[in-house]
Symmetry: C2
Subunit: 343 residues, 2 copies
């Protein structure tokens, strides 16, 4: 059994039906986040498509990650829950903005706290204090490690050995993927007309793989949005093989992780195209969303809209409503906004 499957015995099949049952399991714990539209953003597009933004920045913990964390917890036995859960705070150790990297660790900590379950988080010892505070504010117990992958794995193994806690991976796990897919399920029920397509960002690929599964058999075309500065998924699709390395030179800190082992083949099979967007395009999409939707959206959360605005997407000539998943809104508001930084 893969490391990533430890939390998931017995795993559900990776199908739309599993996502429907996952939604039944977690609907009482998650926010049914609202959808947003903007006629000015729609009419500015060459295709004038109606846009339905799924506001997962308004999800508990400020990101869609709470879905996967909640579903992962729902699959644990009473015995496992009694011992708690653990995770690490990031997939890579590049320098992150404060808060953002905590999306999964924070979501798991919050979901665990709401159920009275202990949560252990391994964080690099060079983490910024606000990031540590954020995870602790959700009641998690923090263990520090040297800022490299082997040290992290060792620290996590030690926590597991000492506590018996179950590891809940951030994206490369069946239950995580299935849980994230519930966002599109809701969006499809909320949009007043059937979607022609949906666009979700891809970092580790939990959200995009889950979205693709949720769309299966519905006729909704699925697209990914990836930063040009961390385009391992798009490159891997071109080469027909998952890339294990990832450059991580993008403002979209939530998308810097390499696409996961389980996630890649699902994306390969079910996602029509992964569109890469520059940081400039992400920042402009983000600014428009703040201005027109009045929503605080993090750079990763603006990537899907940036992709929809791109020539590459518009040239597809898709007619009909487009669903756009706003993945999160966790951003350090004490820093200058990115579009003012660029001026």
């Amino acid at each position: 059994m893969a490391d990533s499957d430890r939390a998931n015995a017995p795993p559900l099949p990776l199908t739309r039906a599993s996502i429907l049952s996952a939604h039944d399991a977690i609907a009482h714990q998650i926010h049914r986040t609202p959808i947003f539209t903007s006629s000015s953003l729609s009419t500015a597009l060459p295709g004038k498509n109606a846009l339905f933004f799924k506001a997962e920045n308004l999800q508990k913990g400020g990101a869609f990650k709470f879905r996967g964390a909640s579903f992962s917890l729902s699959r644990l036995s009473a015995d496992e829950l009694a011992k708690g859960v653990c995770t690490h705070s990031s997939g890579t150790f590049v320098s992150f903005l404060v808060f953002n990297v905590c999306n999964h660790a924070g979501a798991l900590a919050l979901a665990a706290k709401e159920r009275g379950v202990k949560c252990y988080v391994v964080m690099p010892n060079n983490s910024a204090q606000p990031k540590i505070d954020a995870v602790r504010s959700y009641g998690a117990s923090v263990t520090f490690c040297e800022p490299n992958a082997p040290a992290r794995a060792a620290a996590l193994a030690k926590v597991q050995a000492e506590t018996g806690a179950t590891f809940v991976p951030p994206y490369d796990a069946v239950n995580t993927i299935i849980g994230q897919g519930t966002a599109l399920l809701e969006l499809m029920g909320q949009a007043p007309e059937p979607l022609a397509a949906v666009v979700a960002p891809v970092g580790g690929g939990g959200l995009l793989a889950g979205t693709a599964l949720a769309a299966e058999g519905t006729g909704v075309r699925v697209f990914g949005a990836e930063p040009a500065g961390a385009d391992d998924c798009a490159q891997g699709l071109k080469e027909g093989k998952r890339r294990e390395d990832v450059q991580a030179n993008t403002i979209a800190d939530g998308l810097r992780t390499p696409v996961g082992v389980l996630n890649f083949p699902i994306i390969q099979e079910k996602v029509e195209k992964v569109i890469t967007v520059t940081d400039e395009e992400i920042v402009e999409a983000m600014r428009l969303m703040w201005e027109r939707l009045k929503l605080v959206v993090e750079p990763s959360g603006a990537a899907a809209f940036a992709a929809v605005r791109s020539a590459e997407f518009q040239e597809l000539g898709i007619e009909g409503p487009i669903g756009i998943i706003i993945s999160g809104g966790n951003i350090d508001l004490s820093k200058p906004l990115p579009w003012t930084r660029q001026n």
Copy 2:
């Protein structure tokens, strides 16, 4: 007939019943804006009150003003609609942030545009270009005047004489007040439990007077929130007489106008207290709302929450849920955020 009543013949009585019928008249045109809660913001309060934020920053045009504008238009005859409507872009001529002052003029222009009605806006000739562009983007015809009150009145009279357009005042008018009251009506229907109190900001007093009328007979206690730097309403209530002058030294640009002639007696009779808040309190409330609610809120839109957080309000010991009206979200995002400016 007062100047402010010209658009409103025959006026409805200033009662809760009128607000109910106004809502019926405009419900298909306005957004039924969602309500937001935050357990972290609630538990941080001494009283731990549940908080229900009515997100009028998500209203069309980015502010509650669209309600009053829509209802004012709904009261016009076909003949009046054919001639169009007019207004001016601000009540005072202090230096405003870009966009914000356009809340009423922009709302009226947008409401008129949606109905195919002409809209004329008188603006001071020192208005910032983005402000002019914003009003024009809604299809309004802009007339410039010298930046003082007599010049504005003369320009408006000239527009009316030339076009026959009906003047729709920003706050000091029966229909405007009744229209704004529909926000609380919706909030009361959306909150899962009865509100103990509601807090709305007060500038010209359209929203607060409308809110007080909407609350009448329901048992919901009504409070106003006013910036300390523009506290003419609170001062007038203490002195038992409306003040005609207003200092306007506050970041909350939407609240710099003096309270209206029609508005003041309604507030005097029906609002329990107007709580003044400092700019520092407004900025801190605003920051918390951006961070926790993930909403782009303008300073005026944060005043009511700032009042709820104040010692003066907390000392009232109100038990039960509090409604908070987020009046708008129109802010110039190209400028530094106010809490970063203060650092």
